[in-house]
Amino acid sequence: MNVITCYKIVPDDQDIIVHEDRTLGLEKAELEIGQYDLPAIEAGMKVVADAGGKVSALSVGSKHLENTKLKKAVLSRGPDDLYLVVDDSLADADTHQTARTLAAAIKKIGNADLIICGEGSSDLYAQQVGAQLGELLGMATINAVSKITVEGDKVIVERTLEDEVEVLEVSLPAVISVTTDIIQPRIPSMKEVLSAGKKPVTQWNLADIGLADNPKTMETINTLAPELAERKLIINEGDSEEVVDQLLANLRQELQ
């Protein structure tokens, strides 16, 4: 079983600064693997642990993918090797550009049986790349998967929808987007961190994967922090009867 797990490098949103004019400052935000992608990587490791095979990690994006620490961070979570497609035009790629790039890279890697994506990216969270990728590759495509069991040349998956669970038989090759609760991602051991540096990394540009022409399909006009609603900000301290009475009076007013 050849498994490919896709991931995105994103800024840690706890470190995003909002400027006076409501624009965002991402300079101080540390880059990390998307939090929804970690369970996808671990789910790939579980599939191979159960059914045998190999896991490759794949990401597409701008130069920051080349960061040694980030490459090690992925490989220390188990994958056997890593593929990167690096091009500055991918820095703010839309979901279609990302899916096209991943599809071209997956074709070039070859022989993929199962491609696993996270529930969405931690920064934009459109939850679209897995769906588009599967369609572009002409493979069985499914999302919201909370369990994967390999059975011969098929996988049986559980899909958790809003108010029901489906058990599906999915023929391979397939692209599967998994939920965050499918599996608890590991904390890499020291041994895993040390061996990560020795694993093979293949880096391509867009031309290498035959994708010189990859135009945008949507524009982002601006990204601003939301204007917060004006609030009364009537705040009292302590737990005295007086403080509670005051709140109760306000609450009663709201309940009318």
Binding site: Y125, L161, T220, R231, I234, V244, L255
Partner: protein, 312 residues
């Protein structure tokens, strides 16, 4: 205001389909529903707001909702509406994405507002910001959740047309073996007018009883932060408020023991009134409340409940 000519709507959930059909009149002159169902469900969708219904057939044991995608693709290709909206359920997101890939475009995902100039808004960075985006596609594809267009009313006298279309079989690479209801009771928090929300300020699951008592006294639903639902598992996932959970705008939101991280606040900061009780004076929630108590909820809450009871 420049309305589009044709807006199409699809959802695997009948109530979301009806709601978006009604709301889509804010965007387009003619609203068409893509429906899996029969004539009587078509009539309901027309009453809710559709001018036209393409009746694509019914679900049976062998068909999954996703199997209707080739039928939708053909209709879109033949008629090219300016916009097709999918209800943002899991199935809706998958189908929107697959359709977009077929048509060589992206999806305007989880749109929270459509503007007259053809742009729309969506949340990014866990709710810390809102992007204004615009599709370059001939047929724009969007996903929209419940509540975006506001509450809508049924018009029993509304007229519309229904057209049966041929179901185009899908090359099924996926077979549904079993479908079962989820264990937890489903709740629809988005409709709640009053909400009592709990966070990590509660030390034990047992203590949530205080919040439940308050909720019962004022006729509120219980909600929570993500760690209470995922991790501690004190409440079902359906009750957590935040960017990947429930987003709503109740009249009253009472936050108990909630610090007010952006990822949570984005789900509730449109509430009409926000009240918070939290012992940490520096908690970010106190920048966003109408009324607040910096105090120990284990002392404040019992007193408040007692007084509410006595006052009745």
């Amino acid at each position: 205001m420049s309305l589009m000519k044709n807006v199409w709507v699809f959802s695997d959930k009948q109530d979301i389909l009806a709601e978006i059909c009604a709301g889509a009149h804010q965007l387009g002159e003619r609203v068409t529903a893509l429906l899996i169902g029969n004539q009587s469900t078509a009539d309901e969708v027309i009453k809710a707001g559709a001018d036209h219904v393409y009746l694509m057939g019914e679900l049976d044991g062998s068909r999954m909702v996703e199997d209707f995608l080739p039928t939708i693709e053909k209709l879109v290709e033949d008629h090219k509406p300016e916009l097709i909206i999918f209800g943002n359920t899991k199935r809706g997101k998958l189908m929107a994405g697959r359709l977009a890939a077929k048509r060589g475009t992206s999806v305007l995902a989880d749109v929270i507002e459509f503007a007259e100039d053809g742009t729309c808004k969506r949340r990014v960075y866990g709710g810390a910001a809102i992007s204004t985006i615009k599709s370059n596609a001939e047929v724009a594809i969007a996903t929209v959740g419940s509540g975006v267009f506001g509450p809508q009313s049924l018009d029993e006298s509304r007229q519309g047309t229904t057209e049966k279309v041929e179901f185009i079989p899908a090359d099924s690479k996926i077979k549904c073996l079993e479908r079962r209801a989820k264990g937890s009771v489903t709740v629809n928090l988005t409709a709640a007018k009053r909400v009592v929300a709990v966070g990590r300020g509660f030390a034990e699951k047992e203590d949530l009883k205080m919040a439940e008592e308050l909720a019962e006294l004022i006729g509120a639903e219980i909600a929570c932060t993500r760690p209470i639902a995922e991790g501690l598992d004190w409440l079902p996932r359906e009750r957590y408020v935040g960017v990947s959970g429930v987003m709503f705008k109740p009249d009253l939101y009472i936050a108990l023991g909630i610090s007010g991280q952006i990822q949570h606040m984005v789900g509730c900061n449109q509430s009409k009134t926000i009240i918070a009780i939290n012992k940490d004076k520096a908690a970010p929630i106190f920048k966003q409340v109408d009324y607040g108590i910096v105090g120990d909820l284990y002392k404040v809450l019992p007193t408040l409940i007692e007084k509410l009871k006595a006052g009745k």
